[in-house]
């Protein structure tokens, strides 16, 4: 009965909501084309007078975009690669191997999801600064800058992810033991079993986890801000864009910031649109834990 009537009220609601969601993005794109004196003036106009690319050029000039993108790409790749690898390895051990302390380790993994990141913010910085034998530090972590002056610093605190391990484990549990057993009888070692059987079978979940991790890592702001403050050479794209706020000519600041933002979210947006079914499944899965 509910399904038979045309759901006009639902349509109205959903479409209104969708418009509210999309309009800010359109406003961002429109503003990125606006000329000097066209933005922030009264009365408000949605469309720019002309679609010229000078703000994009200014954003690229003002920022060292190749360096920013390099840092973001390297950090994101390190994080995504490491999370996939460690989650799959640990997930396999927790799902399919028997060993003393398994329950404890599993509980530890679950508990890591409970700790809020801000609690680790200060100590993580401290640990990276005093990382032994790096960046001029001695064995006791004194004397130098530690890891704070390397791109690695952007990635270090995010290399392992409790949720990723949990997700992989849940999926691996459903792989039939007989398949693994057969391989073992054929003489395959655990590493081979993992690489030849488990990894291919969990590929879709790996894509999902990879995408979730990629998006989070690419968009990370606060930690990157701190590390970039210590060493501007490792600045990431979001941090760099935020710095555009201080662009000298105030009549053009906003359009240029918007142009930078459009450039910065494009890679993630494209990836998301291409692989969204994996991403969306990942979020749905996270709700089932």
């Amino acid at each position: 009965m509910i399904r038979r009537r045309f759901p006009w009220l639902s349509y109205l609601l959903v479409v209104t909501g969708a418009v509210l969601t999309v309009v800010p993005f359109l406003d961002m794109v429109m503003t990125s084309f606006k000329g000097p004196g066209e933005s922030g003036t009264l009365p408000y106009r949605f469309l720019p007078k002309s679609f010229d690319l000078s703000n994009y050029r200014a954003a690229i000039d003002q920022l060292d975009l190749p360096v920013l993108f390099r840092n973001s790409v390297v950090a994101t790749a390190l994080i995504t690669g490491s999370v996939l690898l460690t989650s799959s390895l640990a997930g396999y051990a927790l799902a399919k191997l028997r060993f003393p302390g398994r329950d404890f380790v599993f509980r530890l993994v679950l508990s890591t999801m409970m700790f809020p990141p801000f609690l680790f913010f200060i100590p993580h910085f401290l640990i990276l600064v005093h990382w032994p034998l790096a960046g001029g530090n001695d064995l006791l972590g004194r004397g130098g800058a530690g890891l704070t002056v390397s791109i690695a610093a952007l990635a270090m605190p995010f290399l392992v992810n409790g949720f990723g391990i949990f997700l992989m484990r849940q999926f691996m549990v459903s792989i039939p033991d007989e398949v693994l057993e057969a391989a073992r009888i054929d003489g395959a070692g655990e590493f081979t079993v993992w690489w030849r059987i488990v990894v291919p079978q969990t590929k879709p979940v790996l894509v999902t986890l990879g995408l979730l991790t990629f998006v989070d890592a690419w968009n990370e702001y606060i930690w990157a801000l701190l590390v970039s403050t210590a060493d501007p050479d490792v600045m990431t794209v979001p941090v760099g864009i935020q710095l555009l706020q201080d662009y000298v000519d105030p009549t053009r600041t906003m359009p240029i910031v918007m142009a930078g933002l459009v450039l910065s979210i494009l890679p993630v947006l494209i990836l998301f649109l291409l692989l969204q079914k994996y991403y969306i499944r990942g979020v749905m899965l996270s709700g089932l834990k």
Binding site: A134, S150, D246
Partner: protein, 446 residues
């Protein structure tokens, strides 16, 4: 030589230490060495200088003398690094924590107490301290000192005065800038205009929540003009809840509630586009207003901060920066040598006069230093007449307090001023809360 020489012995130690850790530094992908200048014999010492001269003409103005030094000195080279002012304190603290502190830093004097207590700043060696006391005005030396010790060469000194837009004042039938608070209020109300939606088109007096200097700077300038101070004479508590403090808060409260001020507007944008009739700001602004406004800059005038009653003694706020040497620097002697060269050595300026490189640099960007003689020489002929009121104010300005925690105190003051302007707090509450908060959070360390 009084400065401790950390020449051969210490240098050799750190060199060996560096060689030992180099491989692991390379291992940690892309790890840059914290200190430039490898310390190998024959290689020049490289000093880093961290300031907020990050963009535009300020950056170029500083780069000029630095390039000159590098061209004429083989043994010691200087490399500049810069961040925006809003990030400067955080950058000092974070880089210091990361062992990345620059050899020479250019702090806002407000932070000197905090930086000294945290052990970031090194006291000036005796002969430099003496030179500084001799060469600079009292407000500048005071700002560069903590607990009686001088910590650096004062550079940019800012005093606050009243900017006004002649065209807007004339349009409201006002011929000369206000001299008393009564005149200020009257002029503010007469110049205010708004559209039918309630959007402010012109605000009479630009009270702006945009940043520290537009909130606290203005308020403290008015407070000093009323004979008050933010920190009490004994330096152990705040004196904001004095009659002078109350008078300033009252004045600002009236301006906002009666619509002559719209604190939400960014005055740095609004004044140049003719949307603000009057605003209190520092001298550096002349330098950025000129290119921004072009021909319209002719409308801009500057007058001393109005005083409560006709005949009251002039006073205003002075703020400033200084160049100091990092405690963690491995080459303090070279750093002080460079600072001496930059700040006290007189070179020929225009028309046979002489001034220090720093004075020439500051004046070239429309700013001032605490060297009154240089300022008179450099501003004497031609130049922007709007700078003279700021120069005159050097004689009577009160330096911003630089006790430890001063930045925190300033933030607390700013929050309460903003709460006052936006109607969250009454004048009484704002005074009381400021007092209570500053005493709890900051004065513990005073």
């Amino acid at each position: 030589m009084t400065p401790p020489r950390r020449g051969t012995a210490a240098g050799g130690l750190s060199r060996r230490h560096f060689a030992l850790t180099l491989p692991s530094a390379l291992l940690a992908s892309g790890c840059a060495a914290p200190h430039q200048g490898t310390g190998r014999p024959g290689d020049p010492v490289v000093l880093t200088l961290l300031s907020h001269y990050a963009s535009g003409e300020l950056k170029e103005a500083l780069q000029g003398p630095v390039d000159e030094w590098n061209a004429t000195h083989d043994r010691v080279k200087v490399r500049t690094k810069a961040v925006e002012f809003t990030d400067l304190l955080t950058t000092f603290m974070v880089r210091q924590a990361a062992g990345q502190g620059a050899d020479i830093i250019h702090p806002y004097c407000l932070w000197n107490g905090q930086l000294v207590r945290a052990g970031v700043l090194r006291p000036a060696p005796a002969e430099h301290a003496e030179e500084i006391r001799r060469g600079y005005g009292k407000a500048a030396v005071g700002a560069a000192s903590v607990g009686g010790n001088v910590y650096g060469y004062p550079t940019e000194v800012q005093t606050y005065a009243l900017y006004y837009n002649r065209r807007l004042l004339r349009g409201a039938g006002i011929g000369s800038p206000p001299r008393t608070w009564r005149e200020l209020e009257e002029a503010a109300h007469r110049t205010t205009r708004r559209d039918r939606y309630g959007n402010t088109l012109v605000q009479g007096f630009g009270l702006s929540t945009y940043d520290d200097s537009t909130t606290v700077g203005q308020t403290l300038a008015l407070l000093n003009a009323a004979g008050g101070t933010f920190v009490s004479a004994d330096g152990r508590s705040t004196a904001i809840d004095s009659p002078a403090g109350r008078a300033v808060f009252d004045l600002e409260h009236r301006l906002v509630t009666r619509g002559a001020s719209a604190p939400g507007v960014n005055v740095y944008k609004a004044f140049p586009s003719g949307q603000v009739a009057m605003v209190i700001s520092a001298g550096w602004w002349t330098g950025s207003l000129q290119p921004l406004m072009g021909k319209d800059y002719g409308d801009v005038g500057v007058a001393p901060v109005p005083v409560p009653e006709a005949g009251d003694r002039h006073a205003t706020l002075s703020t400033g920066f200084m160049l100091g040497v990092n405690t963690a620097s491995e080459h303090p002697r070279e750093a002080w040598e460079f600072l001496h060269w930059l700040n006290t050595e007189k070179v020929s300026a225009k028309k046979g006069t002489t001034a220090t490189r720093m004075s020439a640099l500051q004046v070239s960007v429309g700013s001032l230093t605490g060297r009154a003689d240089d300022m008179r020489t450099l501003l004497g002929k031609g130049g922007d007449p709007n700078l003279h009121p700021f120069l005159d104010a050097l004689a009577y300005a009160v330096p911003e307090p630089n006790v430890p925690g001063a930045q925190r105190a300033k933030s607390l003051l700013r929050k309460n001023i903003e709460a006052l302007w936006t109607g969250q707090q009454s004048v009484d509450e704002a005074l009381r809360t400021t007092r209570r908060q500053v005493d709890q959070e900051v004065s513990r360390s005073w």
